[in-house]
Amino acid sequence: MKKQVGLLYSLPQILWLLVFFAAPLCIIIVYSFLKKGLYGGVEPQFSLEAYTALANPNILLVTWRTLKISIIATALTLLIALPCGYSIARSKNQAARLFLVIVPFWTNFLVRIYAWIAILGNEGFLNDILRALHLTTESVQFLYNQTAVILVLVYMYLPYAILPLFSTIDKFDFTLLDAARDLGASRFQSYVRVLLPNIKSGLMTAGLFTFVPIFGAYAVPLLIGGKDSYMLGNIIADQLTKTRNWPLASSISMTVTILTTGLVFLIAMRKPREQKQVFDADPAFLQAVPAGKR
């Protein structure tokens, strides 16, 4: 009896996933195995062409570039989010600080991208300041290259990394840091060897929350990027809207989905070992086990 009620509770979620996730995914899978229609759409005829076309050196180059940009941007995001999350967790007015992290979401994503164009442009604020300080006479070309794309991607996804990191760090028992210092660890050592292993799950979540959307980025490389910043998201959109090759758009989407879910699975598989490490550092556990058995 109880079980049936549980199923009922999860029904909205199951329906949501079916309609907005499973069904579209199935359509993409089916389309990727069909023949392309001359004017877009698909012909009901089995074809592997969309997958053999993936071996095209242009697409491989873009995949490599996308991977590179995503890894760099994710690493930078985590590097900035970690001290942010830590300082929020240790601060007295957490609510106010969290609020500040969330505030940028009130402005539309595209508006914030255009704001960056206004800041970084040749006639933008940053160049104005540099010229006013006589650091440069000519404008510095900040926009329309990969560095600008990475910068704006880091900005966009920073909150997604700060929030999970904060919630993990918030649960961390900070007296452990003092204990580590008492036992002779330097400040740096206490962070790296006690704090980091304990918030590994938060780091993983934050990494996923940033890597996955960045891997599918479309608007940022389109508006901020230049000739060298064409990413997988742009190829998919162009195949769908410009070159009218829906099966190829689907097969590239499948590749992106498989790569990112593969990553999620890999991290999920690592979970058990992590939890053990968390347990290892738990002082209650340490006390409970006689010294000789440790």
Partner: protein, 351 residues
Amino acid sequence: MVKLRKVLLNLSAFALICTLLVLSGCGGGGQSKTLYIFNWTYYTPDSVIQKFEKEYDVKVVYDTFASNEEMFAKLKAGGANYDIIFPSGDYVSIMIKEGMLEKIDKSKLKNFANIDPQVLELCDFDPGNQYSVPYYMGAAGVAVNKTKVQTYDRSWSIFARKDLGNHMIMLDDMREVMGDALKYLGYSVNTTDQKQIDEARDLINNVWKPNLLKFDAEAFAKSFASGEVWVAQGYAESIFAEVDKANWNTVDFFIPKEGGPSYVDSMVILKGSKNKDLALKFIDFIHRPEIYAEFCDYFGFPATANVPARALKKGESWYRPEDLLNCELKEDVGADLEKYNAAWQTIRVGK
């Protein structure tokens, strides 16, 4: 964690209240009919739309697209119920072939007679104009910021100039850019000859692209107006919509002497439109000489498609109808589009 949840809860409650307030604000309004238009960005002035709304006591919903391909993909994906669309000729023929268009009853269009017969003659994509009524004939050209670039040749060769490197931009539009290169090399913009397409590809990749900041069909006019870009290939209407009126005298817009791909954009009625009569009224309204002149004046267009409007125009035009003489109408190249796709991919992907 509790605190995070509390903050999020408060925020979502706030958002919900805001949404409710906004929704309750825009309920009401018992207007009889709504005409759904899907048109290019910057292509019909608001004043014209408002006049139409007032005269016929209807509401017009005006959605925009940046390229034919985008428009077509959205319609193909379904779910869009527009009444009037403004595709270019090559897409009119595709949409006719795909059975997406409603036949147009020309007996209901009093002002059809105002349309330039020379333009009608060019409508090979829809012989006899059974499905489409020409809206405007034009071509993308080159805008130059004269304060930054003093001497230049009015030719596509401007994109080969290394001294303007990283200050030039071209549209992220395959047929337009490939067409420019093909015309510059003396070929047809509708060629299906692999060798000619390869030659155009190499010209763009090796000579033009190294000097370009990027390919952009979304924000090129904004970049030009901000001074970031000095030379932009694109549409006059987009450029002058973004550039401040006080600075218009610093802009030179020209159609390069070699010509390029030109277009006849037409008004078509989508099959399944619920407001066919109203759509016909709108098409007829556009070709009223005074309305057409207002539209052309707003964008600085020559009145290419409507003859009596030419006498009513008050403002100047950015280019003359004669400038289009060397241009060539883009046509649908069918399955040979694959050749263009492959060439364009190397242009967009590479470094």
